[in-house]
Symmetry: D2
Subunit: 426 residues, 4 copies
């Protein structure tokens, strides 16, 4: 195994950096999927793409068809072969790779999310991707949440399975999921049925909390349920100097709604969140704005808290629209569920790469992995969401986000040990 | 003259509709300027273009160089010859056309504004430009303030001067000014010196108030001084679920500032206005927004009221930035002055086209013509700003704005009568 | 007459200062009315009190019966005889004093407002009432609008009529009106019918604009129509630490409504105003506030503008209540109308006391005298509202408001000249 | 013991109802303290009062001296003897009662809070205090948090100690603490030194969460650190119709600050709270308000979160003052600390009155008992905060708050069992 790890280490770095350079937003991961698919095929996995992989209608917050078309053209320019683009046409990105040993044994599922964020990567000379020249090629898009690392971990695990397929038994399903950001992609894969006969299911995240490389948590507690909304206000424009009283000010409605949404009270039954992350309104300086658009999300530690936040947000949006005599259209475009890990799924792992084992860590983000986990559990399997420690000089979604690449091998090794133990157990 | 009017009438309609179809925003009027220039040259005027016409540095609220370049490319596609694009390069649009009879006489100046607005024209079948198929070709840009008509009036006057140059005397300067919307273009033409030796100066507007076709007002009272500001808030992004307390929320600052700006008190010394006409902020739903951008304008009936509004707006923007611990950069991008028409400049005109003469009409918009008028008056000339009546089923800056094309001949005739009377007077 | 003026001058000062010391709020002017009534009876006028003077139900914004009772007790302690208190019982303050010469002639009406404001008078040693020891005896109540002066002017005019009753002719009705502040008292006197057979009607104000003593304006333009509203929000209290989500926050609704009311747009057809002048909400620090109470007023230069403000304020109050899931009760408690003075009512007056005569002055307050004026005009009479100049180091309603007592004689003399001229005219 | 409980039961009800009828706000508990003192003396305790009991300067959020004086007068009318009023003069309410058995043994401390809330008790016929005629005698003041019950529990325990003083050993200190609401009274008792030689310290609360009568929790987790602030905005008044631009609007500042305070982001390291519980501003409808006053509190699960809330609240208050060009004065008037119970202090108690024992319950209020607990622990003792179950048809601080009086005996019995066990243990 020592040789295997030694050979794998530079490969992991290379994978990570090449994905980091070509980040793609959710449901637009054409190039990313193509690259993963080629690797997985080369390793001997059976690869499923496009509509085989997801229920089209269960995708949430799909980009506009114009954006999808534009990105399909760009993907072509980036060298993605036509057959791949055809297979994924219309935002059916992501893939499922399966290895069936055809020996009796458990069915293990693994999920790796692959999308990037609408953030312009920082050019600071101390920022590693800048210094080592793998900064994002795409202005305004960045792997600022570590999914480039997650893809890499998936490929690392695939190398192990491929090279040790004679030693292992059972069946392995690796889900490379699009559009995790905004909780938009997992539901579509789940509804396609990929999770129903899995015995054990594993996902994980680099970072979340700053921890030394080598620390691994076998489970998490505290993922928040969430809902993603778009609100579109429509009013009537008017000349702001000549007849301001004639306008129905949708810009002002959008601004007021934003501030008001933050006044939703805290809930005594658990943590909650509210964020308006995007706001565009109005046409020009001397025109009363006739439209306003918000992208927001709410979260709650329990479904009850999440529902409270939803109900309050909804009432605020409607009431502010009434206040300015404009209309509002509210659209749900993403969601995640609250989830409980099977904390008994893995016992502490000892390996030279894993220096500290935590049975669980408390977190407070949201994850659409929750859909997959709840599905696995519903069909009698077990599921857990792990954390792989890395220092975080800047938080997730920060323009200087980065992680320690040493954490990649730790994560891959954790998954390998899980596979090995499972194989030995039986 | 009857023949002249008869020949002119269809031409006016044709001019108006062709400009209406190709609207261009301020400092991007490449195609518009080219078309006017060709007509004016054909009529025998001397035409000045580009940096001859304006002080580059006195232009306010110039589009970004990227927007200018993109539009220069588009202008080329629309058939604007390279020499024109070169002459206007970098946003030096608009033109000055001069006819000097070289006979002793007064120097008369006329100003026509030529820019359009960032509004998507309505497609309602009852909207004349839709019905008669001259709706804007350019999504999101529209002649919704009647400047297509103003250009047409200028060309109509030019026809008269050209065809009657033997009868008239003195000198005629026609300024086709870019970027009136937002009060951005007049200052640059003024500072170039074009207004300094003009004896009498005339401008006017179609509509403003709904009046029957045939009504003309010789002057206006009440144009508001104004200032145009852009405010850019900068904060720090963070993951809105995992560590909301780490963000410095520039989106929320922009939204709050918007609402707060409307709370500036009314002023007992005269009318005032405030409008935030554009607001864009944030990057994505689950990211605390690290930037927020506002385009706003304030107005005041007197310089005192305008200064009060400026001071209050400034303090609000700064204080809201402090409140959210973000920075704000405030940029002045346009302004207009308050102005007093020389109401004695024209006596009532009798003509079959002019059915009702008003010595003045009260208005409450803003006009950067104020810079030109104050300059003419400063150098000893006289200036007035007229109104040409038209019904207005929808107000200015409305997506269904339209005017009665019959008003075009009335306006041209008014200017012709002014020229004729001046010529006869002496 | 010289002797008359000489004797009157110290008396005016004495009147003014004694009323200044005992200010009383609207509909609570028991002591004030009693003092005026005693003077007017001594001068020979017929005095009407209580329900003879006003329609009970047309009084707006009456204090609570508890406040009225408490003040009735206080009035008794201040020495107001029981029979007076009985006559005015339940907030029927103010009086009408009539002198009928029984000689043929015009019926002249005069109105003087008598109420004070809920302001704590400043104790600054340079503040004349402090320095000369006639500062308000009543903490939190102050004659900060000059009505102490108005009462004095009425008494001064009464002295003239009384002493010269043989020279004058016709009939004189002096209305000492309660509760002008907030536009609450004039309507009730008007509806009682006192204004219906008046030929000429005069009222006036000290100050409004800072002008030298001796300046008099025969009329005003620009009084704003207005409406006075109280809004009471009701929600549900809850422990703010233990279960904040259970509260329905009426305090937050009241605060938000306040800020939002100021965002009502300016109107292009005339000046407008909005003010929330009082706000009380909540019970205690760690309780979600279950009630919120606002006192506000809106104004408009025309009835159209006033109606626009009313409609917008109403919608905002309702929508904010919905936003916080609380109820709101909106009560109209006062109003004034817009009004047009009969500017031809008085020709310039020459008198040594009147140094400068203005035909009219532009103002922007509101006056419930408007009800009386519109009534007089409706029944065929003429009415005007004058201004009597005084410097104003601090504005009206300021804790250091004061006026130059020299203006009192100017005002009295103006009314005397009007009476004399009317008598001579016929 | 059966007889003892039987005799005690009606006494507890009677105590509770008599205190419920005469509620007094924090530092004004003159009558309450007098009644407790008389009972405790009669039972044989040594009673300490006034400045013996607390550090005057460590009292937070003391009422104004005017309010204190007024209440001292009222207390006299209610029959509190002069010597008591003298002893407590100036807001030194509350008492400490000590019983020293002079037998070797532990020093046990117990704390009971005695103050009421500024809430008007509901008059609903189904509300027990209304139905059974022990509703608050004092309009606007109510025992809506169960402190009437807490006093009663203290007196119940005192009965036991008194009647069984021969069986028990060690020393007993009962602290009847004023002004728990707002976290204002515990600090002053703590700083006087009463907690320094206590071995075991117990306090508790009725309710908090709705639980059946008979349920007892031996400890709590989650009490929030908190800070109580008053903010006073000062501006300049002006006539809102005549010169609105002259005012500096402190009312609007107070309203805006209120809404803005609720926009402080959630913190990922623990629960937080914000509440503005009282807001009064302005003087009268047509005056720009020159003052605004807020009572608010913030809370945080940890000192870090609490400090974050403090810092944000402070910056918002300052920035809003700047925005409206008014001043703000921020005063700290109360605080509580976060605290950790010694959960090992008591083992489950079995008694027929205690039906269900919980080792701890999660809560989210704040308690200034935290000062006492942290002090006991600092000096080597142990401390815990218990809960005594009762159904809660309406939450704490609700105008219809009530608890099941059956819980009183459960609570007294819990304390008795603790005392007995401690005595047997040694």
């Amino acid at each position: 195994m020592q040789d295997f790890y030694q050979a794998l280490t530079p490969k992991l770095r290379q994978y990570r950096r090449s994905f980091h350079k070509c980040p793609e937003l959710g449901f637009l991961e054409y190039h990313t999927t193509y690259k993963i698919a080629e690797e997985m095929k080369a390793l001997g996995f059976t690869v499923y793409l496009g509509k085989e992989v997801m229920e089209s209608d269960a995708r949430l917050g799909l980009p506009s068809s114009k954006e999808i078309e534009m990105h399909e053209k760009k993907a072509k320019q980036w060298g993605v072969p036509d057959e791949y683009i055809q297979a994924m046409k219309g935002g059916h990105t992501g893939l499922v790779a399966v290895w069936d040993t055809e020996k009796e044994g458990a069915h293990l599922g693994f999920r790796f999310d692959i999308d990037a964020l609408p953030i312009t990567e920082h050019g600071h000379p101390d920022h590693l991707p800048t210094k080592e020249e793998f900064r994002s090629n795409e202005e305004g898009v960045m792997h600022a949440c570590g999914h480039d690392g997650h893809i890499t971990i998936g490929l690392g695990l695939a190398h192990f399975i491929s090279h040790h397929h004679e030693q292992v038994k059972g069946k392995f399903t690796l889900l490379f999921q699009p559009a995790e950001e905004g909780g938009r992609g997992a539901k579509a894969m789940t509804e396609k049925g990929w999770l129903r006969d899995i015995d054990e299911w594993y996902a994980g995240h680099l970072g979340i909390q700053p921890l030394p490389v080598g620390t691994v948590a076998g489970a998490t507690r505290g993922f928040l349920a969430s809902a993603k909304l778009n609100a579109t206000f429509k009013g009537v424009s008017a000349h702001s100097g000549m007849e301001p009283e004639k306008g129905k000010n949708a810009l002002l409605a959008a601004a007021t709604a934003t501030t008001q949404l933050y006044t939703i009270p805290r809930h005594s039954n658990g943590a909650s969140r509210i964020n308006v992350g995007k706001l565009t309104a109005g046409n020009g300086r001397n025109i009363i704005g006739d439209k306003g658009y918000l992208e927001l999300e709410i979260r709650g530690e329990t479904e009850e808290v999440n529902d409270f936040m939803k109900q309050e947000a909804n009432r605020i949006l409607q009431s502010v629209a009434n206040m300015y005599d404009v209309s509002v259209d509210i659209e749900f475009v993403g969601e995640t569920e609250s989830v409980v890990c099977n904390e008994d799924l893995i016992r502490p792992i000892s390996s030279p790469h894993i220096r500290k084992w935590e049975p669980f860590i408390q977190v407070s983000g949201s994850e659409d992995a929750s859909f997959m986990m709840n599905e696995v559990q519903k069909y009698g399997g077990k599921a857990t969401y792990m954390l792989f420690g890395t220092p975080l000089p800047f938080g997730h979604h920060h323009p200087q986000f980065d992680f320690d690449e040493g954490a990649l091998l730790v994560a891959v090794d954790t998954l390998i040990q899980i596979v090995k133990r499972r194989t030995e157990d039986e």
